[in-house]
């Protein structure tokens, strides 16, 4: 781990206990040369905290950096697994999680009786657990060779991880009701898969085996090496029968040139090998090719077990031992028999640490053990016999499970494996017992009215939210939280940037999916204002309309009104025209939009008049003017500017463009306007002082000419 990395495995949210003595202080590495005088902090999304470190200001100009900004991601999870793999697990666990949630709600909707719920439920959880397990599988270590290496004792198919080991341990104890009867055997298999993980904190049988295998090429006479016998008795003590038999067959007496003069010795070796391969096991079946005889029913097993034990005893008392002149072989083989006979001392010597001793008890001393309580007592006994030298996160979990303390288990997995594990493993815990279900689903005032299940899902969603590549799956977990999930989802969506269009669309899509209309409306408003202020008026109006922000749209319409009657350049007229187009006619609140549309038509034809002087265009403009002046939606304050704009039309050279009645209409409006001027709060339009009189004169002239024409 680099010095710049905070050990994210140990910084955990929401542990059960409070202990100030164990407060973790993490270094925050920076490269400032001067002392830090001030800090500033800011939360980004989720668990990501940004810290600014400000150095004391320096008077010299080449003082170097004045401050550093550092991002700290908190409570990530398991340091054993890298980021990319975490993301793979995070994405892969979404589907099983979502399926289980939908099944839960389907079942609770369908049947009200809790008994049927209990009956079927664990099967769903088991399926879920299996899917997660397959996800946690480490990288495969290449295909196994076609030709078996006779000297290869330890085989490895995949790199084991503590995470998967912990998950399987919980599955064994809480979910898989079918194999409850042969739970000890499942633990034997579990240790066979994961014993190597314990090598990090103590000596293990797996470690011894690997060391021995590495030395194998250098050993001349294998049965003379005491380690050969030691390693075999160890492997036998934890039930790795295949390995022991394979190792026994490496015994020198099997070599063709020696067979004749070591016949008896070889017979003894083979007898032990046969006994080992015939060991009765209380389990449905073992993996293909594995040694041992499996029995599903307990009576059959007991019968076979007793017969097997009597065979061992018989061999142990056999007179052949005296005739065997190889002392190493004699002692070694008889020690193997002692292991099989369940001699506590032999088992204790053979195993390296308490979990191995514990497993050996299941195999050779108490193969019928049932009940977690007695298993717990046995574990305590084994810990006394082999006090642990260090603590391993898997043993902590195992003791928690055996102690039947849900809170301890939760605290262990939370501390050791992080938020992903807790959020997903809660399903296993609650499948195990009603008591755990009550504990975990009980809503607590101290937690703000939420249950522990919800709290842990929120915590996990926070972790997902911290990363740009995973925040999109946070909503799936948040929506499974009844009380506070939506609140956090709203905050998460609100904190997404609107700058990038595809992200904006994704946000809106998430809002639509979860019916968060008010949030999407807010996001669209933010986008609208952003674009408007950044000069993209069209995009601005579009998003403001999408968000139905009448307030801002009114203001924009108001700004458009403000340019009525002002002489504007062609360029800005085009923009103005485009905005009116965008605002559309359906946006009611702008009210005067109908007017704006008519005004645009009028302005357009007027422009044509100024450029082309054609009488047709002028007539069209007059038509627009009359429509505008007749329309009640045209604000009074624009009457004068409109008429002033039309002076050229009113004074048209060739012929009067307005009929008598039209001229009268305009004159009446002018009169009305003059009256309105007398009222208080009247705002004078921004026109030259002689505007009114020149309009009046033009209208009078036009009236005269129109009367003559008619």
């Amino acid at each position: 781990m680099s010095p710049n990395t905070v050990d994210n495995g140990t910084l955990i949210p929401f542990s059960g206990e409070t202990n100030n003595d164990s407060l973790a202080i993490y270094p925050l590495h920076h490269t400032l040369t001067r002392p830090v005088s001030r800090l500033a902090i800011s939360w980004s999304r989720g668990n990501s905290l940004r810290v600014s470190l400000f150095a004391e200001p320096s008077q010299t100009s080449d003082a170097g950096d004045g401050a550093k900004v550092i991002e700290v991601k908190l409570g990530g999870g398991d340091p054993e697994i890298d980021d990319a793999d975490w993301r793979r697990i995070a994405y892969g666990s979404v589907a099983p999680f979502a399926l289980l949630q939908s099944r839960r709600s389907a079942i609770s909707n369908m049947s009200k009786s809790p008994s049927t719920y209990q009956l079927d439920w664990w099967e769903h959880v088991l399926q879920y657990s299996k899917e997660i397990t397959s996800l946690l599988a480490g990288p495969k270590l290449g295909p196994s060779p076609i030709i078996d290496d006779p000297n290869e004792i330890v085989k490895k198919n995949e790199e084991p991880t503590c995470l998967k080991a912990a998950w399987e341990l919980m599955e064994i104890f809480y979910v898989d009701k079918q194999s409850q009867a042969w739970l000890p055997e499942r633990l034997v298999d579990w240790l066979a898969d994961y014993d190597s993980l314990f090598t990090s904190t103590q000596e293990t049988i797996h470690g011894k085996l690997v060391d021995f295998q590495n030395d194998l090429v250098n050993i001349q006479v294998i049965e003379d090496d005491p380690r050969y016998w030691e390693v075999m008795s160890s492997a036998l003590s934890v039930g790795w029968l295949d390995i022991v038999v394979k190792m026994l067959r490496l015994h020198g007496s099997y070599q063709l040139d020696q067979l004749s003069n070591r016949e008896l010795e070889n017979g003894l070796v083979e007898a032990v090998a046969v006994l080992i391969s015939k060991m009765p096991r209380l389990r449905p079946e073992s993996a293909a090719g594995n040694l041992g005889e499996c029995f599903k029913s307990k009576p059959d097993f007991i019968k076979a077990w007793e017969k097997w034990r009597s065979q061992i005893t018989k061999l142990d008392c056999s007179p052949f031992w005296i005739q065997c002149d190889n002392q190493q072989t004699r002692v070694g083989l008889r020690n193997l028999l002692q292991v099989m006979l369940g001699n506590t001392e032999s088992l204790c010597t053979a195993s390296c640490y308490w979990v191995e001793l514990y497993i050996s008890h299941f195999l050779y001393i108490r193969p019928f053990m049932i009940g977690v309580e007695s298993m717990y007592n046995l574990a305590q006994k084994c810990i006394q016999l082999k006090p642990p030298t260090g603590t391993h996160r898997l043993t902590g979990l195992l003791i928690g499970i055996l102690g039947e303390n849900t809170e301890v288990v939760l605290a262990e997995i939370s501390r050791e494996f992080g938020p992903w594990m807790v959020a997903h493993a809660v399903e296993l815990l609650t499948a195990g017992s009603e008591q755990a279900e009550i504990l975990l689903y009980d809503e607590r005032y101290n937690l703000g009215g939420i249950s522990m299940v919800e709290l842990h899902r929120l915590a996990y969603a926070q972790v997902l939210s911290s990363h740009a590549l995973t925040w999109q799956i946070a909503p799936i977990y948040l929506t499974s939280c009844m009380k506070q999930g939506m609140g956090l989802l709203e905050n998460l969506l609100y904190r997404q940037s609107v700058q990038h269009n595809n992200m904006l669309l994704k946000n809106i899509e998430i809002c639509r999916l979860y019916e968060l209309d008010h949030i999407s409306s807010n996001i669209m408003k933010v986008a609208g204002v952003y674009h408007w202020k950044h000069g993209r008026k069209g995009a601005g109006v579009f998003w403001l309309q999408q968000s139905q922000d009448t307030n801002c749209l009114d203001r924009i319409a108001q700004q458009l009104f403000d340019s009525v009657g002002k002489s504007i350049s062609d360029e800005s007229f085009k923009q103005w025209e485009g905005l009116i187009e965008l605002l559309g006619s359906e946006s009611k609140p702008a009210g005067g939009l109908e007017f704006l549309h008519k005004y645009r038509d009028f302005k357009k034809s007027l422009q044509m008049v100024y450029s082309g002087k054609s009488t047709d265009a002028a007539r069209q403009a007059v038509g627009s003017l009359i429509l505008l002046m007749k329309n009640p939606s045209t604000p009074q304050r624009f009457w004068l500017p409109l008429l002033f704009d039309s002076l050229k039309l009113l004074n048209w050279k060739d012929s009067p463009l307005l009929s008598v009645s039209e001229t009268n209409l305009l004159l009446n409006k002018l009169q009305e306007f003059s009256l309105a001027r007398q009222r208080p709060h009247f705002t004078e339009p921004n026109l030259p002082p002689q505007a009114l009189s020149s309009i009046r004169l033009a209208l009078a002239t036009n009236l005269g000419r129109a009367i003559l024409d008619e």
Partner: protein, 328 residues
Amino acid sequence: MAKELLSLDNGTTCSSWNYSSTRLATGSTDATFQIFDFKDPPSSSSNSLRSSFKSKVHEGNIVKIVWFPPEYGDAVACVSADGIVSLLEEIVEDSQPLQWKVRKTLGSSASKVLDVQFGISSTRLKMVAAYSDGHMRVFELLDPLELTNWQLQAEFQNVIESVSSFGKALCLSASITLNPQKGGSQESCFLVGFNSNTPELNSSKVWEFDQAHQRWLPVAELSLPEDKGDQVYAVAWAPNIGRPYEIIAVATHKGIGIWQLGLNPDHNGRLPVDRVAVLSGHEGAVWQMEWDMSGMTLATTGNDGMVRLWQSNLNGVWHQQAAFEPTS
């Protein structure tokens, strides 16, 4: 995991991230205001911050930068040590390129602005400012697209008994926090505490706008009777994602108080308050307190130069979860 994002110039004194943590505004002793943006969309791996604007604002040392809510565009308030607040926004105007422009300034040497915060209520933007003479002023933005037009909505002192007024008050600092609730229909409320020579002003109080009488009323005081005169260093209102009560952190020299504020007022209109924890850890003053977006973790900085994180455990007991110590 810790990662260095950016180095800043000599003399930089404050920084502030926007709502989406994609833009950083910084201020320095020589009144330089600078903006940094992430160059690429946040999903790309090699994302780095680039300076997109740099200019001098007003004069004097910028000590604090507060972002506007994003509904009002990209805009900030820069508070300078001499008590002047400049409101700046990033805008395209009259076919000029995109740039930050000063829209308004508040405060004077006689009446310095100590802190300013923004909140949205009834679809209006409100700006709450605390002044060195112990006064609070609440401004409303008249036009949502124009950050120049502000109307003074209210002016009052941070005291429960409104008859008393403290003319000679001298305040060193003030801290305002608004209820971070989303959705504009509700009237917003805010909390303010002072660090002054006038005990009555100091204790932090929750103010709520009373629609019926069109005035701000104190609805809660977050201080035990014996602590009322304590100078307040910092306050922070936690986001509420569904708790049946609000949580507010108040820092004084006695430590960081975690307060629960009930949602239902009693017959006097007061909200029930309960101090559920006093957290000690920072020796001396607390500089800043920030809640995460779930309102469950409080991050604080203080005189001891540490960053500390606080959480409540499953039994509701608040404790320090972790601490970070800058080391070179």
